[in-house]
């Protein structure tokens, strides 16, 4: 299981990670069905981000993309805002 962290000071709120995550789960594009939630707080020029550890509101929990070389969200993110810590299975 990996740990996904999002640096909201770098994040541009493009939601490409949500697209990637839903593609990983569904093979289709459905940002509201991704395990990652990016919310732009436009009036304050800020971003809030969350990675779901448990399924909620029709969104699956983050599974860390075990079948992939790297988590899709991090691979697709154009700003480098997503960092991944991959722990060994037995840890």
């Amino acid at each position: 299981m990996g740990m996904i962290r999002i640096d909201t000071t770098i994040c541009a709120a493009c939601r490409i990670c949500e697209l990637g995550c839903s593609f990983h789960h569904l093979g289709a594009f459905a940002p509201r069905r991704s395990s990652i939630v990016i919310r732009k707080l436009a009036a304050r020029a800020e971003v809030a981000a969350e990675v779901l550890e448990a399924a909620a509101d029709g969104r699956p929990a983050c599974d860390g993309c075990p079948d992939r070389r790297a988590p899709v969200c991090a691979e697709w993110c154009p700003t480098g805002a997503i960092s991944v810590t991959r722990q060994a299975e037995e840890a």
């Binding site: 541009a12 709120a13 493009c14 459905a30 436009a42 020029a45 700003t79």
Partner: protein, 643 residues
């Protein structure tokens, strides 16, 4: 089983008078026009009856999400809005980036058709395949930001995507715009007024559905490659740091700014230093954001923390704001431009049309045609920021001098008289928004635009990104982009971009990712590859660009049906054939005889009549538009055209 395509498959059809909501299959209008804006013009031709005026209930508004919207195609996020133009009476359209259009697709719709007029102020609520018209009276008088906050609060969900009008749209000002995703404007053509005339304050949408493509793995790999190419581009690096305002001083250096209502083409001595990108950064820029699925992130968030405008926040500051307020109205500092731009967003004003009307008023003041008696004591001297801010408020609410200015300079001059007509700078009735005396192709693209001016329907930027003749030929098939003042090859360059822009619009793709902005960005072949993989199609480049020509031709037919526009309306205002004293030494100045030859060439390339501009029967036939031949469909034979 059908091959999946990125279309949501359905169109929402709302009649606000009858209070009915129906759905149609997208295929009803999509053939040969890709989607998005292509569907819009087909629906408008079919449904807007002859004799309709822009603010009549019979005017049809079409809100569109293009074919690639909702996929990870780079920057495919734009919301397109079309309707009969409140300023020209002809084709009207605008688009804005942001987050609304993808949400619409996830809710199950490619387009929304809105006709009629609601009994009282309303908003349209769309969620996962369903829609309802809701009471919007609690939104009356709110700014666009307040409207978004109020709808979010009413639904208890700040993630809902919204487009709305501000006080300006409610007041039916032709200078009104529609604001998308809080800060992005679908500017020009008075679409905010059309929306106001329907008593439609906002559209709010939430969608949790999925968009699919035919070849998902190849498609996403291509998206990644294209994003990588954008990432390496120097144009993109500039956009990320400063947004489009970075180019303001380059336009000044070329002597190509609309100073004081086009009386000067450069900034006054000493003023340029106040607008350096470094200064802009220091005073106003906070961070850069991206729109949905965009790796470019050109959107600068602005925040003024010092001075009299402290507390002002905005986003998506564009070079256009510096043309409009800095050059055209003479406001000589960053803060005044940032404030005016942000205020337009809140009030739901199109800054191009609002500043056009103010520029006309300021020139009337300069010449003693308007005095304190007319302005209620306001001093309309060039650059007076207090007057600019006050007038923006007045235009948005139709109060004070705003009652005269709210429908643009041409309408204002027609009402005022006193010789003020000579200072109206307009294209087909809509305020001119750009200087163009130093760029022949840019000028042509703006003047022949079916939407009444503006530079996003064919006007090439290539003339100012200094490329070699060889590279120009490689990209566009003509050398002409290398020489801004050449006439030869400029009609070809404009037709290239008319087709390319029309295709991009139908796809829902932001032009900033395309070679419009820089020679190193994406070309038609890249978008064709995306479209083919997304749809499992095998379209050729010729067919792809023919779809652009078809969409453009349909827009032309709409104008022929609803307006008397002809060749004379493609001629720049007289002032644009003069070179101001202060601009001697710059390589600018249009020539009337050369312009006339350029127009001939332009109409010939399309197969349009040189006087009436009507497409020939064979040009229509070549595009498969035979059904539109004949006067009943808007196609006028040359002989039937008005003198």
């Amino acid at each position: 089983m059908d091959i999946p395509t990125p279309a949501a498959g359905r169109i929402l059809d709302v009649d606000l008078t009858a209070g009915t909501i129906a759905t149609l299959p997208t295929s009803r209008y999509a053939e040969g026009v890709i989607g998005g804006s292509g569907i819009a013009i087909r629906a408008m031709l079919e449904r807007i009856p002859a004799g309709t005026r822009p603010l009549d209930p019979a005017n049809l508004m079409v809100f569109s999400a293009g074919l690639l919207v909702g996929t990870p195609a780079p920057a495919a996020c734009r919301t397109h809005v079309a309707a009969m133009n409140a300023l020209t009476g002809g084709y009207g359209a605008a688009s804005a980036a942001g987050f609304f259009a993808p949400e619409l697709k996830y809710a199950g719709f490619d387009n929304i058709l809105v006709s009629g007029r609601a009994e009282h102020l309303s908003y349209l609520w769309i969620e996962d395949g369903r829609a309802e018209v809701r009471d919007g009276r609690f939104l009356a008088g709110l700014t666009t930001g307040e409207t978004e906050d109020a709808i979010h609060a009413a639904h208890g969900d700040p993630s809902i995507q919204i487009l709305s009008i501000g006080p300006a749209g409610e007041a039916l000002a032709a200078a009104a715009t529609i604001i998308v995703s809080r800060f992005r404007s679908a500017s020009r053509c008075g679409l905010g007024a059309v929306m106001g005339s329907k008593n439609l304050k906002a559209i709010a949408v939430r969608g949790s559905g999925a968009i699919r493509v035919a070849q998902p793995d190849s498609f996403t790999r291509l998206c990644g490659r294209l994003a990588g190419r954008l990432d390496g581009s120097t144009t993109v690096k500039m956009l990320r740091r400063f947004g489009t305002p970075a180019s303001f001083l380059q336009w000044n250096k070329m002597g190509n700014l609309p100073g004081r209502n086009y009386q000067d083409t450069t900034l006054a001595p000493g003023v340029a230093e106040r607008f350096t990108p470094a200064q802009l950064h220091r005073e106003a820029l906070v961070r850069s954001f991206a729109c949905f699925s965009c790796p470019i992130r050109c959107t600068q968030a602005t925040h003024l923390t010092d001075g009299k405008y402290a507390g002002t926040r905005g986003e998506k500051l564009e070079c256009q704001a510096f043309w409009d307020f800095g050059a055209k109205l003479g406001a000589d500092n960053v803060a005044a431009v940032v404030k005016s731009s942000a205020l337009c967003g809140e009030l739901g004003l199109d800054m191009n049309n609002a500043s056009g009307a103010i520029a006309w008023a300021m020139e009337c003041w300069q010449r003693g045609i308007l005095t304190e008696k007319d302005t209620g004591g306001l001093d309309l001297s060039w650059g007076n920021e207090e007057a600019i801010v006050t007038l923006l408020h007045q235009i948005a609410r139709g109060t004070g001098l705003g009652a005269l200015l709210k429908d643009g300079a041409r309408a204002a001059a027609a009402r005022l008289g006193r010789g003020s007509e000579a200072f109206v700078m307009h294209v087909k009735g809509q305020d001119l928004a750009e200087e163009f005396r130093g760029l022949v192709g840019w000028a042509l693209g703006i003047m022949v635009s079916e939407r009444g001016g503006a530079h996003t329907t064919g006007a090439p930027l290539a003339e100012r990104y200094s490329i070699s003749a060889e590279r120009s030929r490689e990209l566009f098939g003509v050398d002409s982009a290398a020489d801004p003042m050449a006439y030869e090859g400029k009609a070809e360059l404009v037709v290239y971009y008319q087709r390319f822009h029309a295709v991009l619009e139908a796809l829902g793709s932001c032009f900033f990712a395309s070679n419009w902005l820089g020679a190193d960005l994406l070309g038609p072949e890249d978008y064709l590859a995306l479209a083919n993989l997304a749809c499992g199609a095998d379209m050729s480049r010729e067919e792809f660009l023919a779809a652009g020509e078809r969409i453009h031709t349909l827009q032309k037919l709409f104008n022929l049906r609803h307006t008397a526009h002809a060749r004379a309306d493609d001629l720049p205002p007289a002032r644009m054939f003069e070179v101001p004293e202060s601009s001697r030494g710059y390589r600018i100045g249009l020539d009337r005889a050369s312009w006339e030859r350029l127009l001939d060439r332009y109409y010939d390339l399309h197969g349009w009549d040189r006087e009436t501009t009507a497409p020939s029967a064979s040009a229509l036939s070549a595009l498969g538009l035979d059904a539109y031949c004949g006067p009943a469909s808007g196609h006028r034979e040359p002989a039937a055209a008005p003198a």
